[in-house]
């Protein structure tokens, strides 16, 4: 049974700093997904990682996947306040997704 764990669950950081959110999963996952959720809003897809070594970047966010270590990371570069949100990773046993607990990211001026 696929289980997905994120850490940290809460992260408070200052603008301009770099940080990484980690996503570990327990067994083989067909894909790895990252979503963003703003307060009171639904989930917005950020990245879909399809294979080992995959790296995707959008603005200040970069996601990577290491299938051998069963680890995905979401790296935030020079954080800005607009990136404050809850970030979820999800593994998949297609067509189902299995979500981590979410990381609530707060970026302070």
């Amino acid at each position: 049974e696929l289980k997905v764990e994120q850490n940290p669950l809460f992260l408070s950081m200052q603008e301009g700093k770099n940080y990484t959110i980690y996503c570990n999963y327990s067994t083989t996952s067909d894909r790895l997904y990252w979503y963003r959720q703003d307060p009171g809003k639904s989930l917005e897809s950020l990245f879909v990682l399809l294979s080992n070594g995959a790296v995707k970047q959008e603005g200040r966010l970069m996601a990577s996947l290491d299938t051998k270590a069963r680890l995905s990371t979401l790296h935030i570069t020079a954080a800005v306040h607009d990136l404050s949100a809850t970030y979820f990773c999800a593994g998949s046993v297609l067509p189902k997704l299995v979500f981590g607990q979410g990381t609530r990211l707060t970026i302070n001026p």
Partner: protein, 114 residues
């Protein structure tokens, strides 16, 4: 642009009532999903459907049922609502044959059972 809509943003029901949550998608997706979201637990899959009239249990189906009579519409039914079903409910859809199987989410329904 994929659009997934849910019938209500906020709903308040009494214990024992039968509750219907409706979800509609406009992109001809085969797969549809119902999740509940609770703080610290992430999203948990209740049921999903990969075709009209087809359904599969997810991780927490107890106390819920679903209906998919048309491809674009997927309903979640709480047969007899209980207070522990107070939660945010999210619907999602995805294409079956696209490589990514990316799921697109609706805005959510916050259900309170009193």
């Amino acid at each position: 642009d994929v659009k997934v809509t849910q019938s209500s943003r906020y709903l308040v029901k009494r214990t024992g009532e039968k509750v219907f949550l409706e979800c509609v998608q406009d992109m001809d997706h085969e797969n549809m999903f119902w999740y509940r979201q609770d703080p610290g637990l992430g999203l948990r899959l209740i049921y999903f459907s990969y075709d009209v009239k087809m359904k599969e249990k997810g991780d927490i189906p107890e106390g819920y049922s679903v209906s998919r009579e048309k491809k674009e519409r997927f309903s979640l039914i709480l047969e007899s609502a209980s207070t522990n079903q107070t939660s945010m409910y999210l619907c999602a859809s995805s294409l079956r044959d696209k490589a990514t199987y990316e799921q697109y989410f609706g805005p959510g329904t916050r259900l309170t059972v009193t």
